[in-house]
Point group: C2
Chain length 176, copies 2
């Protein structure tokens, strides 16, 4: 093993999955932020944890909400995910701009993203500040899958430089 700078060492983690974290403001208007830093964290009940930087608009929405949705984007949503990750819901209506569709959940007021590989409806159960992010934990109270889209996308090492094409399916990563 060779000791390396921490930032260099982190590059070994790719490919890393990516979710869209969906929240709503007080008026019920939805917003989505790509979140790679996400994990399941309980089996019974099923719970998920997602990490959000303090300065994000989504952080503000998460602080003021009891509910959120985690959605696994499909391979046709790369452009939309990239747009959501490079613009702030403070300035733009991301769903309007990306034409991502929404559809109601069954347990929470936050909508699902249409055609997601999977959507998990979550009810906030706790949080923990860690460095420059907060980990939000939610109990998964409902799950949905797309019947048409089954392949989610992953980030590759240079996705920040590559733009939407930096998000790839496993098959695209393996072949290219």
């Amino acid at each position: 093993m060779k000791s390396v700078e921490i930032r260099e060492g982190i590059n070994r983690k790719y490919p890393e999955w990516i979710f869209q974290l969906v929240t709503v403001d007080e008026a019920g208007k939805p917003n989505a932020m790509p979140a790679g830093w996400c994990t399941f964290c309980s089996g019974d009940p099923v719970m998920m944890a997602v990490s959000v930087a303090f300065e994000r608009y989504t952080h503000e929405l998460m602080e003021n909400s009891r509910e959120f949705v985690l959605a696994l984007p499909n391979q046709e949503q790369k452009e939309a995910v990239y747009y959501c990750g490079t613009n702030s819901g403070r300035d733009v209506d991301k769903f309007e701009e990306t034409k991502l569709g929404v559809t109601p959940g069954i347990e929470v007021e936050v909508p699902l993203i249409k055609d997601s590989v999977a959507c998990y409806e979550c009810r906030k159960a706790g949080s923990l500040d860690t460095g420059d992010h907060t980990i939000y934990v939610g109990e998964v109270v409902a799950a949905h899958v797309s019947e048409d889209f089954t392949r989610s996308i992953y980030t590759t090492q240079d996705w920040h430089k590559e733009g939407p094409e930096g998000f790839r399916t496993i098959e695209e990563i393996a072949t290219g």
Copy 2:
């Protein structure tokens, strides 16, 4: 989107990465537990979070320790990872049984696993109980990479049934 049982919905998450969580007991004897429920959770300082079930021996070790190591296993360590995931350090010496090699870290007393794709030395910074697990957060204080092994392994949907072959590289997953 189609509403499904939560457990069925979770299957859409695969492939999911897997780490080995390395801890030591009071005598300094190391133990390793595969942990897929792991995420980065801060950029500055770099921090990672890993979720450990209450009943695990590793949970006991994590409660009594200030340090841990997260290691990304390489494709030749599938059998060892499977062994570590299906046996308890309460009963066996996993490093003895698997012949996984250890090598000292530079910032923590917990050893690295030799030939890991990457190892992250962590100093415990917080924890949060969530359902049936505890999320442990650590600041990454050093990173190491293998010069020979660069491909980590991921879990596939049926890995619990498949055994060691259920852990696959991205290339192995893509080619079926």
